[in-house]
Amino acid sequence: MAAGRFFSGRAILLPFLLLSLSLLAGIFLSACEAGSQEPDPRAPGPDALSVRLLLQWNHQAQFAGIYMAFEKGFYLRRGLDVRILGGGPGKSVPEALRRGEAEFGTMFLTAALEALDKGTPLVHTAQIVNGSSLLLIGRANRGIRTPEDLRGLRVSLWGDAFHGAYLAFFRSLGVTVREVLQNWSVNLFLRGVVDACAAMDYNEYHMLLQAGMEPGDLSLFRLGDYGFGFPEDGLYCLASYREASPRVCRDLVEATLEGWRYAAAHPEEALDVVMRYVREAHVPTNRAHMAWMFRNILPDIVPSEGAEVPWRPGVLSREDFERTRDVLLQEKVIRRNIPYEEFTEGASPRVP
């Protein structure tokens, strides 16, 4: 603006011309460069098979490996043109699979068992998260030191697939609590409505810290420590789809695991991508929280270097499955004793 006052009439023409020329040259050059560059790894070729993958929740670091598999072209390299669909409250993965709105979906093992029990003919294709993140967090300043201290007090729990694990947990301890349904926020706990709430170590626990609570204010009970830690995120599709396209299933699983391995090796790059997905989807969160989530969920997906784990990445062990199933049966969350083979291979006609 200030420069304009010093150039008038003809004098302004020359720099303007030069500027325009250089701009044009720049555009031309970049066009040439783009032409000579490798194609965008995310751009599908004409032969790619279109597949939709519905996440069980809002975009967040929980799905970083899936994003990386897409961003780095691991899906496309296997001929899969994957569209990642963000989930969230009100979006049901089994329902979407049933309606044909998505070919694949991610779900907690407990959620998948429940869906199968209720009639969605889905099949397990890969176990992504092999550990349990479920916590019960009590208010230390209200004297909650053990789960037994919660007897008769108000405890908020999610109403969905995690419900069964908590019920089993309380039943095993012989503790009856006043249950309040909670949503995705931790406000019931923060406002003091409840004395304890259900939480995940990679999410709600850190949300409490980010709302000004101190670790010392909180008593943490890890459900896994009481025998109620179940494998979590898995990849599912309808049994019929798997029957028809077993290779697609296998390729999708391989690419997803490769994406996770890549994310583990490039955590900052993965976080950048996560933040892009989060911002595009207007998910209210911040990078510090996503970093926490990524750090905390990763060891349950890709074992840290040198760590001895009783599972193999991507694989659901029969033992874990049966333990989970038996607790859900006992809690009457499911009614049918679903066999491991049916869960992992589909209710094929071979089974009478």
Binding site: G90, V193, A211, G212
Partner: protein, 641 residues
């Protein structure tokens, strides 16, 4: 302390330092004081702005609270159909512009069939039913928290997906029947207007932000913060526990005005370069923060200080110039006087003194110079006369001294042909003319007389008295051969004409060279030592006899001894025994005795009288060790062979 330089230079330097310090102190204090004042004033102003803003927010929120409470009361009292409820909510929204939406859910914990919700859509009021569709009302904070607490409450701000589809906060009033939850009526406010409101605050380059109860940013100029970041997540990202503590203070309803490092800036400051004023919003439990850059606030102070510094500096330089000028008017005449003084010092008493008019101190100094010049001339003339007189007297004294020295025999051995005895004497006069003397002579062929005396006092009178005494001794000894008689007659002769009351001590001995017998008398003199060959020195016995010249008719006892061959008699004056060293100690007779004993015990090094006398003289000098000789030193050694 200061290098030697001109008065003007020193004056400028000292004044420069002094005034410079004062100037720096004044400007520094001024800067500090106005900074503190401005800081206090800013604090007040910003807290006032914050309080006004909080009041405006509170007016809206408490307005909403009132409407929702009234509506709840109405619905509690009068059973309405769903349609009537929706119409009532619409009416309320039309009447109260600050409301974004309202909902009513009546019928206890079991969800009712319809939950009318009315909100402001883009094209006017929109009516929906929250009970239909997938809206998860039974887990929404605005529903669960008041239901469980049975207490009205503001929800955390949230994006109401499937409801109002806006970022809002909801005020919920639960209906309670017989201590049980019987429904809920809510009112929403959109948070957009808050950002607009905070944007219009008169904060210059500062800004305001709003935190929810959980510390979430409800409003901030960095839009990316809103609903995404909490003050605690920022503290975590930046690794600043102090920000976390500040955040806790804020969300717990604290208020304050603190130095602050602005966390929304890309470049973090090393030190807090901002201020943060914060106040709680009582109704909702939010916290309003106002951030101001210190630099922006203090810019006027900095400008004022630099102007002060400029003016002060200019005045300072001007003052130094003036000081230099004034100093020159003083020192220039002084320099001229200094030139004159130099010439006078070199003896030019006739150099003209510059005529300095003005009557100031320098002028009177010049006058004094003129007077001094005249006085010096007079003084020098007098001095010349005095010096001439003094020189004459001194010359006379020198002559007197020479005469005194010539009075005593100086040639040794005095009688080389007489083998029966040997004698040696020395007289070292003090600086002035003293009163010591010695003498020796033959009374006849075999009788040899020798004396050592000391006249009281010093100077010409003593020398003259000594000369008189010596003359008397020689004259009297011609007629009297006994020492006692000699002394008695000498005493009478001296006392007779002694107007000046002087006196003399004298030791007189007469030796018979043929027999070795010796008679002696003492007129108040130091007792000589008899040095018998091969024996320890012994003092001669004390004899009756007093000072000579004090009183006539005195008797002097006579002593006798007999010399063996090689025996010696050692005579001396108090110049020997009372010689002093620097410490003020006397040589003393005891030391003399010891030295004599040492010499006697030695082999033939002191075989002749001269060497013995010289040795003792040397010990005296050694003892004095450079101290000035106060009295004449006289030694006489007689040896019988």
């Amino acid at each position: 302390m200061f290098p030697r330089r001109s008065i003007a230079g020193r004056l400028v330097l000292l004044l420069g330092i002094g005034v410079g310090c004062i100037l720096a102190a004044v400007v520094g204090y001024g800067w500090r004081a106005s900074r503190d004042l401005l800081e206090a004033e800013t604090k007040e102003r910003i807290l006032a702005v914050a309080a006004a803003t909080v009041a405006r927010i509170d007016a809206v929120t408490s307005g909403v609270e009132k409407v929702v409470r009234e509506t709840a009361l109405l619905m509690d009292r009068f059973p309405l159909t769903a349609e009537e409820k929706a119409m009532l909510l619409e009416d309320k929204l039309r009447l109260h512009g600050e409301l974004f939406g309202m909902a009513a859910s009546l019928g206890g914990t079991a969800l009712p069939g319809t939950v009318p919700y009315v909100y402001r859509g883009p094209g006017g009021l929109v009516r929906t039913d929250l009970a239909s569709g997938a809206y998860p009302m039974q887990i929404m904070d605005w529903y669960t928290i008041p239901r469980e607490l049975l207490r009205s409450a503001w929800s955390e701000p949230y994006f109401d997906e499937g409801g109002g589809n806006a970022v809002m906060a909801t005020y919920s009033v639960p209906l309670v029947k017989e201590l049980a939850f019987a429904g809920i009526v809510t009112g929403d406010i959109s948070l957009e207007w808050l950002t607009e409101l905070l944007g219009t605050l008169p904060l210059g380059s500062g800004y305001a932000f709003l935190l929810s109860r959980n510390g979430t940013f409800i409003s901030h100029p960095v839009r990316d913060f809103i609903m995404n970041e909490t003050v605690f997540s920022i503290a975590e990202t930046l690794g600043e526990p102090s920000l976390r503590e500040l955040g806790k203070h804020m969300v717990r309803g604290g208020s304050g005005f603190v130095p602050f490092r602005d966390f929304s800036k890309k470049e973090r400051d090393a030190t807090p370069s901002h201020w943060l004023a914060f106040l709680p919003v009582p109704s909702t439990g939010w916290s309003l923060g106002i951030v101001l850059g210190k630099e922006d606030v203090l810019a006027p102070v900095a400008a004022l200080s630099s102007i002060q510094l400029g003016l002060g500096g200019a005045g300072f330089l001007l003052m130094l110039g003036l000081v230099l000028f004034v100093a020159r008017t003083i020192t220039d005449p002084l320099k001229r006087l200094e030139g004159v003084a130099g010439k006078i010092a070199r003896g030019d008493l006739d150099v003209p003194v510059p005529d300095l008019s003005g009557g100031d101190e320098v002028a009177s100094l010049a006058e004094s110079f003129t007077r001094m010049q005249a006085d010096l001339r007079t003084y020098l003339a007098k001095l010349a006369a005095t010096t001439a007189a003094k020189e004459r007297i001194e010359s006379e004294l020198r002559i007197a001294h020479t005469i005194q020295m010539e009075l005593v025999p100086k040639t040794f051995p005095p009688f080389p042909d007489r083998k029966e005895f040997d004698i040696f004497a020395l007289l070292d006069p003090a600086r002035e003319v003293g009163g010591d003397f010695y003498d020796f002579f033959f009374l006849d062929e075999t009788h040899f007389c020798f004396v050592v005396g000391d006249v009281s006092g010093k100077g010409i009178p003593a020398a003259l008295f000594m000369a008189v005494t010596r003359t008397f001794v020689k004259a009297i000894a011609k007629n009297a051969s006994a020492p006692g008689e000699i002394l008695a007659r000498l005493n009478d002769a001296l006392a007779e004409q002694n107007e000046s009351c002087m006196f003399v001590t004298l030791f007189c001995a007469v030796a018979d060279l043929s027999t070795g017998e010796c008679a002696f008398a003492n007129g108040g003199h130091n007792l000589p030592f008899l040095l018998r060959r091969g024996m320890a020195p012994e003092r001669l016995p004390r004899l009756a006899g007093c000072l000579l010249g004090a009183m006539e008719g005195r008797h002097f006892e006579e002593g006798h001894l007999c010399f063996g061959r090689g025996d010696r008699l050692f005579l001396y004056t108090d110049g020997v025994s009372e010689a002093m060293n620097e410490a003020g100690a006397f040589y003393s007779e005891a030391r003399l005795e010891a030295e004599l004993a040492r010499c006697a015990a030695a082999d033939d090094r002191f075989a002749n009288v001269r060497s013995l006398a010289m040795e003792i003289r040397t010990t005296v000098d050694r003892f004095a060790a450079g101290a000035e000789q106060a009295d004449d030193v006289t030694i006489l050694v007689f040896e019988f062979r």
